[in-house]
């Protein structure tokens, strides 16, 4: 019998109460318990960034986080960004620049990019590359992604 624990947190602006297994990771909880499958499972060990979410504003690999540690926190996933007008420019820039191929890394890339733009509103390409170094893409070669984020920066330059 696995030990369970009740947690309460804000998910994309909505209060949420969930009962989780103590050792469950946050990614499994989002996908399998809450049913938000935008956040992807890539490597399961923090190397690829496909599972990137925002926790109290900062980005985290949800695969490395214990779900119980969500308790009391403010969580934003790619579904939350999709409904956020502030992220419109970023989403449109990814489309505009062809920064999406197979799309698997895209949710993590967009969530991490939103964090870069919040913390470095004047980010240049170098800052964006450093910010995205924890996100792997096996299709694009990164150039289009960096271009997209840069064009979304400062409302487009």
């Amino acid at each position: 019998m696995l030990l369970k624990h009740d947690i309460e947190f804000t998910l994309n602006g909505v209060r949420k109460r969930v009962t989780v297994d103590i050792t469950m990771n946050a990614l499994d909880m989002l996908r399998d318990v809450v049913g938000l499958t935008g956040t992807k499972y890539g490597c399961g060990e923090g190397e690829c960034g496909a599972c990137t979410i925002r926790v109290d504003g900062e980005t985290r690999n949800s695969c490395l986080m214990f779900a119980v540690d969500f308790n009391g926190r403010d969580i934003v996933t790619i579904e939350g960004l999709a409904a956020d007008p502030k992220a419109d420019a970023l989403r449109e820039a990814f489309v505009e620049h062809g920064a999406v191929q197979c799309g698997f890394c895209t949710p993590g890339m967009v969530v991490q990019a939103s964090h870069i733009l919040d913390t470095h509103p004047d980010a240049d390409a170098e800052t964006i590359k450093r910010g995205l170094e924890g996100n792997l893409c096996r299709c694009t070669g990164y150039k289009k992604i960096v271009d997209a984020v840069e064009s979304a920066c400062c409302g487009g330059r």
Partner: protein
């Protein structure tokens, strides 16, 4: 199989130490090591899983007399951006900048990096050359007691430290730098981000009249723990940093490390790296 019987997320140090005193506790902070290590079966959960994120007073950087005290749950990102660290221990900020990725720096804590006790832990080598001490708290007889120990003496093997089961690592303390203090850090990895160090080197000392005194040299990923390089230090202490001294020290460094072959590099290559990069770093210190 997990055998966790209890989950605790205490708000005070007193409460956390009380839980530790009952025994059989796995401590959770950022989770970036605990999650993959438990999943892979390298670490087994104990009966209680204790999340120390909410413990008051364990996070943040502050002066404590002539020391800079960094709370155990301070994240790598927080250290990287902290003005006190930047001014008083810039070599630690530099190591934090070479640490994994943004997502992991936002989660990982300095206490976790120390407690994980990896021979390649990114903050350990700079902390050792800065003469850092760890602070350990416990509550054996109903009252909180603390003890301190040089970080250089804290590690006993991969994943193992001198922390007793009833103790919590509460802070790491760094003495404020003396005038003329210099410190350098170098990490070699195949890519800048998300790589575990093939080797790392820390060098610190007080530079005066072209010589280094109070010299500290430490290496990561060349032994079961991060190590002080006493023979390299002896080759440098008080000597003028000329080409001959630097070559002697770099040779001493190569001869005193005892690395292994693994997926990241052969022992031979690690020794070459230690020699060549120690030499380059000392050249830079000499020219600075």
């Amino acid at each position: 199989m997990t055998a966790i019987e209890r989950y605790a997320a205490p708000n005070s140090l007193d409460e956390a130490l009380g839980i530790l005193q009952q025994g059989e506790v796995t401590i959770l902070a950022g989770g970036t090591d605990l999650m993959p290590q438990t999943k892979a079966g390298r670490i087994a959960f104990k009966a209680t899983l204790m999340n120390i994120r909410n413990v008051a007073g364990l996070s943040g950087v502050a002066f404590d007399g002539d020391w800079l005290s960094i709370g155990a749950t301070t994240t790598i990102t927080a250290i990287l951006n902290d003005p006190l660290v930047k001014k008083n221990a810039p070599v630690l900020a530099e190591a934090c900048d070479h640490f994994a990725s943004d997502q992991i720096r936002n989660a990982g804590t300095i206490g976790g990096n120390i407690s994980n006790a990896s021979p390649a832990g990114d903050t350990l080598v700079p902390l050792i050359v800065l003469d850092a001490e760890v602070e350990l708290a416990s509550k054996p007889n109903g009252a909180v007691t603390t003890r301190r120990m040089p970080l250089a003496e804290y590690f006993t093997g991969p994943g193992r430290t001198k922390r007793a089961a009833n103790e919590l690592l509460t802070a790491v303390r760094i003495p404020l730098p003396k005038p003329g203090h210099v410190a350098r850090f170098y990490k070699f990895g195949a890519r800048p981000a998300l790589d575990i160090a093939t080797i790392s080197i820390g060098i610190a000392g007080v530079k005066k009249d072209g010589a280094l005194t109070d010299i500290r040299v430490a290496f990561g990923a060349v032994a079961p723990t991060p190590v002080r390089a006493k023979r390299t230090e002896a080759a440098l202490e008080g000597r003028r940093l000329d080409d001959a001294t630097i070559e002697t020290a770099a040779n001493a460094a190569r001869d005193e490390v005892n690395p292994i072959d693994d997926v990241r590099a052969t022992a031979w290559y690690r020794k070459e790296l230690i020699h060549n990069m120690t030499k380059r770093m000392l050249d830079h210190v000499a020219q600075a």
